[in-house]
Symmetry: C2
Subunit: 198 residues, 2 copies
């Protein structure tokens, strides 16, 4: 036994967190040991309360403290444009861009027949209900440009188009600040195919 | 407000930890949100208890749950050889090597006149008392090979040698598995100067 038991226990618990290896766990544990008890109390409280106080927005399935999330509650957001994302992190990434003023729909995953993720496990039915309600003009499919993301987008587009709604997807091409020389072939191919007049 | 308040609070608390940026804090928060409440309870308890239950070993000043740390209590350890380290992390690094069977003395820092760290702020007096007690035959100075580490080792060696104890320091040279071509000049210079017959 190399560390005092309470310290060893803290390191053990921290190591269970994703991306936290033994070294990081040790560094964090020493920090917590040196921090004030008030700070540690705030951290512990936040950890304990997050599950109990967080639920899903009943409309878009983003995490929310109330029945409807702040975005769905916001009257200034355009409720006729729905951006469909796989999970709340993608939602935050799009929000941070500041470019989108519509509302969201969080699928809570991507289709993956290999891993047994079928449309029933995602919030697909709820999305279709929202579109059927009639006020939606456009659905933006904002999945990651991966095999699962593309498969999910293709499936959703097949479900949504017959409902008479405009279905779009995020543009693919060169990342801003990127380097043509370092871009992969598929990205360049997309950038050429999706080129636009200036 | 992009995240539900409890989630935002957790992210805010996690971001205060060293080496945890906004992205990592977000990733950890989502993990905690998905983890079971029992797991979160164990993590929170470990955070809350670590300060209250951890104190310093009265002999070597390593972190300890009891008055004496497990190493100082261990009758199989050679109490006549003391390895002096700057902090408990260095102690763990040496323990993990499995090479040392003596006991330790944790200075709780390194001398740094620029930052105002003087011998009085470290556990120097306690080290000298231990050596004076008469059972100590060798003191190994195991500071990092840095400016502060070297200065601390030099200072301690000046204090300890007059007490008639053998004072040694860790060997410097090429790291095992290292590459001569990538080693810095100072390391190679030490490796040459400290060479030994095979």
């Amino acid at each position: 036994m190399r560390y005092a038991r309470p310290l060893a226990q803290l390191i053990e618990q921290l190591e269970k967190l994703p991306g936290i290896g033994p070294k990081s766990a040790q560094r964090l544990a020493f920090h917590i040991l040196r921090a004030s008890q008030e700070e540690n109390q705030r951290l512990a409280t936040a950890i304990l309360e997050v599950k109990a106080k967080t639920r899903y927005c009943q409309r878009c399935f983003n995490f929310s403290e109330e029945d409807l999330c702040p975005i769905c509650q916001d009257a200034r957001r355009d409720q006729s444009v729905i951006c469909v994302v796989a999970d709340p992190r993608d939602l935050t990434a799009i929000e941070n861009s500041g470019e989108f003023r519509g509302v969201y729909h969080v699928l809570q995953g991507l289709l993956s027949p290999i891993e047994g993720v079928l449309p029933d496990q995602l919030r697909v039915r709820e999305l279709i209900e929202r579109v059927k309600s009639g006020t939606v003009k456009e659905v933006i499919l904002a999945m990651n440009p991966t095999v699962e993301g593309d498969a999910t987008a293709l499936f959703l587009s097949g479900e949504l188009k017959p409902l008479g709604v405009k279905v779009t997807q995020l543009a693919m091409g060169l990342p801003v600040g990127g380097d043509l020389d370092y871009a992969d072939q598929v990205t360049i191919a997309r950038a050429v195919a999706w080129r636009r007049e200036i």
